[in-house]
Amino acid sequence: MPEVAEWERVLLPDIEKNETEWLAAYLKKGGYDVARKALDMEPESIVAQVKESGLRGRGGAGFPTGMKWSFLPKGAFPRYLAINADESEPGTCKDRPLMEQRPHTLIEGIICSCLAIESETAFIYIRGEYYKSAKVMEKAVAEAYAEGFLGANIFGREGKRVDIVVHRGAGAYICGEETALLTSLEGYRGYPKLKPPFPAISGLYGKPTIINNVETIINVPYILKNGAEWFKKWVHERTTGLRLYSVSGHVRKPGVYELPPTVTLKELIHDYCGGIRNGHDLKFVIPGGSSVPWLKPDQIDIPMSHEGVAAAGSMLGSSAVMVCDHTVCPVWALGNLSHFYKHESCGQCTPCREGSSWLYKIVRRIEAGGGQPGDLDTLYSLAGEGTPGSGMISGKSICALGDAAAWPVGSAIKQFREEFEEHIETGKCPYRERKTSYWMANGGFVNESFDGMPVP
């Protein structure tokens, strides 16, 4: 087991302290020096450095950040920067410590990014449930304004302006989808927009807009300070830089780990997180947030990079690793995930609205013992094989939530087909001793409201 200290930890050296680094402390460490330096740089050269570093979006899709920035139409102003801090993907908990403990690093990152994309206004869209994050960010932004780091003429430089607006969401997962985030920010129902046009062309209030994850933006000052080559020290194929892995589930030491992309999933679980809890065996891993296909124990010896995980048939996503041991019924786990997606579907487009709840109804019915012989075929045709574009939902919806709802279903059935069939054949869940379920009493059909309210 390698020592944890073997790796340089950039973003979270003080995480154990669990306290917020306010402005005074941050300045003592040389804070905002990079932002001052960036003032003298050409916007193009900042973009070029970020491009050179190979920084990829940390929100889930892993799109190269520098390339995203270069999509902005020339001469179109105003432009906006929206920071996606609506961290709602189940299992993901990396942006929260960043905002709560390193708010000024984020603000510095925002300033550098705004200078790079020539935007004067940035919005931080913080998940509604992240009350403390929002409070910390608000206070930190106020500190930065008071110090003259934000507002008109930042750092005393004539004509340079950066404003930051901290906005709290209202608790909808869909508002983490970048275009839904923008509609929500505009004051409308959080509905994803039709694409094209993409936000870089027509985003917030119809203006060119860049949307980046918190972790992505917080990396920018480090890249500008240490150079692109430094960032590329940690590299696996086209995934560069240290990244934060949120590990949850049945491991001894769950938490947020900052590691290079070369670390394997096996090392992450067994070395860093102390392995599976006592006396239990690993059953499956969800390697990148709840929407990605599941991996079995024999598939985990893979580097935790976009390419490494993709090679195993899953996705790195937001690098949120969820570990389940053999006490977990895969049908129950899938029902839990399906409930999440059907609950969080915005309801705008047909395949996701109808498909996500249909999936949930079938999976829950199977788990409750009411499975029918054709159910797995129906699930398969609805969700496909857990690959993009297959099935009735994936690739047909306005945004990717439809895909996210479908992928786990296809992969879960693929990985644990026998267990699903056992549920259907025996009419009960072997994982729990339940003689008569509520659903069985109702003829095996789901007869319960999704929110737990029985229907009269």
């Binding site: 705008q348 009735m392 690739g395």
Partner: protein, 899 residues
């Protein structure tokens, strides 16, 4: 030149649904610059397309039907039903046709295996929660979901679990909402946001629990709300008045035009056994039957949709009556006409032809108008024939006539700039306003608003608006004309308008730089009090605007243009409707023939009219109803109702359209043209009139467009396949464009300006803003205008007249409202000429500062138009709120009770 314009033929084929609405979506490519055109492939065919078009628009033009629910040509693209998924080469997954723009060389396959599978899947999804209640659903037979299930869906559903269900809300008195059937296409929501303009519908809750509803659970308040019934592709929104009355395939459809206002919308009357069941926008042929087109862009207003059944009112009288010894006794039609002829002959012999007046309802067809005029001029020998009883003064009536005679504008040409002067046009001629709104919203034309009242419906789309005090509009228009002609300075106009010079210069530049434009002027505000001054001013402005511009004076009366063009007016020699009571009083008029009692009803209250009419030697009334007037008649001739009449009528833009009888006349009643023919013959002219409607039409055609040979059947092209196409163009050089008979200088204007002196124009350079103190905090000037659903002789007889009656609201400018401390939905006491009445307040930017606006005919006994003099009002706020209709319903409705 009257000619029938034919649009592109509607192709009906195996894969084709409806023909594209002519000239709207998927516009023809003629005249598009070559550099904007390119070729692409659609289903193996090379087709031309224009830059910026979507796949759906190209498909529409190429007669290729792509299934869709949420897409509608008049509404913004939602892209949420996903039914229009098509295959595009080099794109890995199917993409939606409604939103994807075409590009050169694109290869689209709308019916490939991939596309069809995707469409089939979407249909299965939509049916997952849709109840299988077609047998009890009112949409059955014309349901898009039913149709697509057959054409694009699968024969069975794999859904085995319980379906989602909701509690049924009671939100709107006219529209029934059955949420279980909703497929969330959000057409209704977008319609209310974009066309209706009241933003009252919305999507509530999230995910599969979401549902449509109204904010505050109240009714859908806009005057076009009924259209959401047609827009709804499923049985979620259905018509309450029509619910459970009939199955649509049992009804007979008649392609006709609405008889209620000057918009003259094409409609389909759905009848059975002599009864009108419903009115809808024109139905279209699909395969072998006619049905509602869910993609229609021909929206109609609620009054036309729900208020057209007044002919079936309880007071309907089919037989004729003859007065014998102070009693009215039923008589066969022939006897009654003979008796009427005899009575009129006696009057003519004793007092001369000039002592007879013939009054026409403004809803009279061209055929009735022509025969009435001929009866007056050629048979009786009187100048006194008139249709303008709705105009509140002789001067106003003459102004309307003068304006209509020289009007030369229409919306068909899609003018670049629309200048609107005054007027609650949305409530006088609703669909005209809707089409002006479309110019601004969809075609990005500029709308400029002038005058003392700005239609709130259109104001939201206005690029510029300039208020002035009531009575000063003529002056402003004259100044604007002066500026355009280079004779007056922008500074003076700016100071008159109380706006900055930049603002006014922008206005002038906008008008000057426009290639084409339209001057829309409402003539009915304030009972036409200012029309005598404003019409000549607008005429002068029209002259200054020059080539490319048109002038469209607006009055709400149905066939004002036709009756005006046919000369159904007394001119300088005769006695018009507004002079009638005086003329009866001093004995100049001894006999009156009224075609439709609404030809005399607006002239005064019942008492006044009864007093005057009882002094007549002969009063011949042709009407459909028992009324106070029928009881005074010497002879009452039973006349066919609005759905029983054939003929033609013009809309306010000068387009002619067919009015077609859907049912036979009730009892012994006759159509108006037949009554006039028989009356002429009873007066001794055996050759008078005509024996068929086609013959009368020939006479009308000869007057209006001598060169034309259009038959009535030609007006109803292809059996009504495409109602939008039975349009005869405005007759250029015909009777319509004769020089006005009136010298505008002769208008009497003294005493017509109510408070122009007392009204101080805002100072130059001080644009009115909300921080200004109210200019008349102690007293306001009450302005008003007619409302198409307001109380009236015929409106009152609609079966759901009370539901259609607009909510009485007093509209107050925001700054004035702030000054006196009233808010929207607050009650206030209105002091008018010593009278007091309680009114609800609506804060809006319609009225100019210092004025308040209300729809006339809404308050019943208290009606502003009964006040002859200046109306100064005081508003006293009350601590009471107008009860929200929805609040009472909230208790009955709860969140969706799902699953």
């Amino acid at each position: 030149m009257a000619q029938v314009t034919k649009g592109p033929a509607c192709g009906i084929g195996a894969t084709i649904g409806y023909g594209a609405p002519a000239g709207k979506v998927g516009r023809a490519l003629e005249g598009v610059p070559e550099d904007q055109l390119f070729t692409m492939t659609l289903n193996g065919r090379e087709v031309k397309a224009r830059k910026g078009e979507t796949i759906m628009e190209v498909c529409h033009r190429e007669d290729t039907y792509v299934p869709h629910y949420c897409w509608h040509p008049s509404l913004s693209i939602a892209g949420n039903c996903r039914l229009c998924l098509v295959e595009v080469e080099k794109v890995p997954k199917p993409i939606i046709a409604c939103q994807t723009q075409v590009s050169p060389g694109m290869v689209v396959k709308s019916a490939s295996e991939q596309a069809k599978t995707a469409q089939e899947w979407m249909m299965e999804f939509l049916l997952v929660n849709h109840p299988l209640d077609c047998p009890i659903c009112d949409r059955g037979g014309e349901c898009q979901l039913q149709r697509y299930s057959m054409e694009y869906g699968t024969s069975h559903s794999r859904m085995a679990d319980k379906k989602r269900k909701y509690v049924k809300p009671q939100a709107d008195p006219l529209i029934d909402i059955e949420r279980n059937r909703c497929i969330m296409c959000t057409r209704c929501v977008r319609f209310c946001d974009e066309v209706g303009g009241d933003h009252v519908m919305g999507v509530f809750a999230r995910g599969n629990d979401n549902y449509i509803g109204t904010f505050g659970q109240g009714p859908v308040s806009n005057i076009f709300s009924g259209n959401v019934i047609d827009l709804c592709p499923v049985g979620c929104l259905t018509s309450k008045p029509f619910r459970f009355k009939a199955r649509v395939w049992e009804l007979t459809q008649t392609q006709t035009t609405c008889t209620q206002c000057s918009s003259g919308c094409k409609v389909t009357s759905w009848t059975r056994n002599g009864r009108l069941y419903r009115t809808t926008p024109p139905s279209r042929q699909r395969h072998d039957h006619f049905t509602i087109n869910e993609d229609t862009e021909e929206f109609i207003c609620n009054q036309g949709r729900f208020g057209a059944d007044f002919s079936a009112h309880d007071s309907r009288r089919g037989e004729s009556l003859v007065r014998r010894a102070d009693r009215l006794e039923p008589a066969p039609f022939g006897d009654a006409v003979a008796r009427a002829g005899k009575a009129l002959r006696e009057v003519v012999e004793r007092h001369g032809g000039e002592s007879v007046a013939i009054l026409l309802s403004p809803r009279a067809t061209n055929e009735e108008g022509l025969l009435a005029r001929k009866l007056a001029r050629d048979v009786v020998g009187t100048w006194s024939v008139d249709w303008r009883a709705n105009q509140q003064s002789v001067e106003a009536a003459n102004a309307v006539s003068a304006a209509l005679r020289v009007a030369d504008g229409d919306l068909e040409s899609e003018p670049d700039v629309v200048v609107i002067v005054n007027g609650d046009i949305a409530h006088q001629s609703p669909v005209l306003a809707l089409r002006i709104q479309e110019l601004g919203r969809r075609h990005l034309k500029k709308i400029v608003m002038l005058g003392h009242y700005h239609d709130p419906y259109l104001a939201g789309h206005a690029a510029m608006s300039f208020h002035n005090a009531p009575g000063r509009t003529a002056e402003i228009l004259a100044q604007l004309a002066g500026v355009l002609a280079g004779e007056a300075s922008v500074a003076d106009l700016a100071s008159s308008l109380g706006r900055t010079e930049e603002d006014v210069r922008e206005l002038v530049d906008t008008i000057k730089s426009a290639q084409s434009g339209l001057l829309v002027q409402s003539l009915q505000d304030f009972d036409g009090r200012y029309a005598p001054a404003e019409v000549p001013a607008a005429g002068a402005l029209r002259a200054a605007l020059g080539e490319g511009w048109g002038w469209l004076p607006v009055t709400g009366e149905r066939n004002a243009v036709g009756l005006n063009a046919l000369g159904c007016e007394p001119g300088e020699h005769g006695i018009g409707a507004r002079g009638l009571l005086d003329a009866i009083g001093d004995g100049r008029i001894k006999a009156v023939v009224a075609i439709g009692a609404d030809a005399i009803d607006p002239l005064g209250n019942e008492e006044l009219l009864a007093g005057a009419l009882s002094n007549l030697d002969a009063f011949v009334l042709a009407d459909s109803f028992d009324s106070p007037y029928s009881r005074l008649a010497t002879v009452f001739l039973g006349m066919a109702g609005n759905l029983e009449t054939d003929g033609t009528a013009f809309d306010i833009e000068g387009n002619i359209a067919l009015v077609k009888a859907g049912v036979d006349p009730v009892g012994d009643s006759r159509q108006g043209w037949r009554i006039l023919t028989e009356l002429g013959r009873a007066l001794g002219r055996a050759d008078f009139g005509a024996d068929s409607i086609e013959d009368v039409w020939t006479q009308v055609r000869a007057e209006l467009a001598a060169d034309s040979d259009a038959t009535l059947a030609a007006l109803e092209l292809e059996g009504g396949t495409n109602a939008a196409q039975f349009v005869v163009q405005r007759p250029a050089g015909g009777a319509r464009n004769r020089a006005p008979e009136h010298n505008p200088g002769n208008y009497r204007t003294d005493g017509l300006h109510l408070r122009s002196a007392a009204f101080e124009a805002p100072k130059a350079g001080t644009a009115p803003s909300s921080s200004d103190p109210a200019s008349a905090a102690d007293g306001f000037l009450l302005t008003w205008g007619p409302h198409v659903s307001g109380r009236g002789y015929l409106q009152n007889r609609a079966s759901i007249a009370e539901m259609l009656l607009p909510k009485p609201f007093l509209e107050v400018h925001p700054a004035d409202a702030a000054a006196i401390g009233v808010k929207t939905n607050q009650f206030a006491v209105l002091h008018v000429n010593g009278l007091r009445t309680k009114v609800g307040i609506k804060v809006g930017r319609g009225p100019a500062r210092g004025t308040v606006y209300m729809s006339a005919g809404v308050y019943g006994p208290f009606d502003p138009s009964s006040n002859a003099g200046p109306v100064e009002v005081r508003i006293e706020p009350l601590d009471e709120l107008v009860p929200d209709q929805g609040e009472a319903l909230i208790a009955a409705e709860s969140a969706p009770e799902s699953h």
